[in-house]
């Protein structure tokens, strides 16, 4: 399903800052971010480490307060998390005392999604299949590898079948082969369900392959440096023409240079 013209997430002049209590100062993580995201759109955020990507999706999810501007989802100001927005966490955030299956079922216990027991079981099973963890239902997170934990986090988010998927570097700890397969799955799910996805990655290839738009964020304070449209036809995964095309190389180079400029600032320090 292609992106419609209806905006689902609207950020206007969004500013996020953190109090640094020790120094009686505050750190401005994101400054004046304005971004409209259309329903069904796949938006990828890239930028150097510490530029405020996680802060941005935390603001969309309603986990952290804004210090200025606004974020609206379907026209309503975001004040708290809601069942329409699921999140894949950068640090997995699995409850260590729960098994894989029980972790994936957590959302069902916390809120009434109006699902029957069979539907729940079916969804858990399918999302586990999707991330290739069938057979690990009864394992505890501490018995899994980093990449496996990350995949449980993905399964948990997908099992809620959200309208909006906020994914914070969801494939960062996963090996290249599995990663490619999961990228294809991600693209397929988003195409099939019409989910809106805000996706963070450090991989420029991943950004181009998955994103309808790639938003490059600058280093401290994070501002939108440039928004790059990517209009390859979908599905792009498993389509070797995309990666070998001239346009791909040009895009990759362009985004690479944008991010590199910013990353250089990081290493130069402040």
């Amino acid at each position: 399903m292609p992106a419609s013209n209806e905006n689902i997430i609207v950020a206007e002049d969004l500013t996020i800052s953190y109090d640094l209590h020790r120094e009686r100062k505050k750190l401005i993580a994101l400054q004046n971010i304005s971004l409209d995201i259309k329903k069904g759109e796949f938006v990828v955020l890239v930028g150097p480490s510490g530029c405020g990507k996680t802060s941005f999706i935390n603001a969309i999810s309603g986990l952290i307060p804004k210090s200025g501007g606004s974020v609206k989802v379907r026209g309503e100001e975001v004040t708290a998390p809601g069942p329409d927005r699921a999140m894949v966490f950068q640090d997995y955030a699995l409850l260590p005392w729960r098994t894989v299956e029980s972790n994936i079922r957590l959302p069902y216990e916390l809120q009434n999604l109006g699902l029957s027991e069979e539907e729940k079981q079916d969804r858990v099973k399918k999302s586990l299949e999707l991330v290739d963890l069938t057979g690990f239902e009864k394992s505890f997170p501490y018995e899994l590898s980093g990449g496996m934990k990350q995949r449980v986090g993905i399964a948990r988010a997908l099992a809620t079948n959200p309208d909006i998927l906020l994914a914070d570097e969801p494939f960062a700890a996963i090996d290249a082969m599995t990663r490619e397969a999961m990228q294809a799955e991600m693209e397929r799910i988003v195409m099939e369900t019409g989910q809106t996805c805000v996706f963070i990655t450090h991989s420029i290839d991943e950004a181009i392959l998955l994103g309808d738009r790639v938003v490059v964020i600058s280093y401290r304070p994070g501002k939108i440096k440039e928004i790059v449209d990517v209009d390859f036809p979908r599905p792009r995964m498993n389509n070797s023409e995309v990666k070998t095309s001239k346009k791909y190389a040009v895009l990759r180079d362009h985004i690479w240079n944008l991010v590199k400029d910013e990353a250089m600032q990081t290493t130069r320090g402040e």
Binding site: L95, P96, W97, L106, Q111, D132
Partner: protein, 291 residues
């Protein structure tokens, strides 16, 4: 729904990945090693003790023979005082008295300490009101309070239990409090994102996270409580293991004194090992490597 597995060709599900270890000699040794080493160690220790006290020129008033100590322990644990006796020479009677007091004291300490600590962690007003008192009392050597409580309550069981409660309650409060305070932010965030309200945050995240902390609090409470038991009985009363130590030393029955000390060690270690086991049981993810 197409599976990721269909697209990956390398093997991920080799059925031999999980293999049965079986009861090899190594496996048996791995499981019993600790027990065997400790037993042999202790046997050698007591044999050396016996040899030194038999052949060395050592006054049995200061160091009794190991066998005399075991003899005293055996007799003391297998006999009871006759009905209506004023003073019991039976270790078992005194042990039961002390053990009952310890358990009552620990029970009360848990009943106060767990909710208290949870409240302090969960509510910043309660925290700022109570924390100065908690820290003040926790840092005061509890032994300094004994004369005061003897004054208030006399040489009674109530006094002894009060001392035990005061000794054990603070580690429990402080650990429960710390558990709530250190609950991982990302776990709370995940629960919030997936729809937890405030009550659910407590029941589904904070409490399970804090449980192992509470158990370590109780573990420290047992150690402190045991000190409380002995101190309370040493100072006042005519009952309990602390009193028996005092009395046997006064009557130059050193074998009895050593027997009671050994019993205290065994009791303390058993209780502490029980809480360790419990901790490993309820929180295997913490994977605590005990020293």
């Amino acid at each position: 729904m197409s599976k990721v597995a269909d697209q990956i060709t390398y093997e991920t599900d080799d059925p031999n990945r999980i293999q049965d270890v079986g009861w090899t000699f190594r496996e048996i040794w791995r499981r019993t090693r600790g027990f065997v080493v400790t037993s042999v160690n202790l046997i050698i220790f007591f044999i050396l003790w016996e040899i030194v006290t038999t052949y060395g020129n050592i006054n049995s008033l200061f160091l009794p023979k190991a066998s005399a100590m075991f003899q005293e322990l055996w007799v003391g644990m297998t006999t009871r005082a006759p009905e209506g006796a004023v003073f019991s020479g039976s270790i078992l009677d005194h042990f039961l008295h002390s053990f009952k007091n310890l358990m009552t004291g620990l029970g009360i300490a848990c009943a106060i300490g767990i909710p208290g600590g949870l409240l302090m962690g969960g509510n910043k007003y309660v925290e700022s009101i109570l924390s100065p008192y908690v820290w003040a009392l926790a840092s005061l050597p509890r032994i300094a309070l004994v004369p005061l409580f003897i004054l208030f309550l006399g040489f009674t069981t109530t006094m002894q239990v009060t001392i035990i409660v005061l000794s054990a309650v603070f580690p429990i409060i402080i650990n429960a409090w710390a558990g709530v305070k250190t609950t991982e932010k990302s776990l709370l965030a995940a629960a919030k994102v997936f729809g937890a309200n405030r009550t659910q945050l407590y029941y589904k995240v904070v409490l399970p996270y804090t449980l192992p902390f509470i158990i370590s609090g109780i573990q420290q409470g047992i150690g402190r409580g045991l000190i409380g038991v002995v101190i309370a009985e040493l100072f006042g009363g005519s009952n309990g293991l602390g009193y028996l130590i005092q009395r046997s030393a006064d009557t130059f029955n050193t074998a009895m004194t050593f027997a009671v000390l050994l019993l205290l060690i065994v009791m303390s270690l058993s209780l502490i090992n029980f809480t360790r086991w419990l901790e490993a049981k309820v929180a295997p993810w913490r994977n605590v490597n005990h020293l």
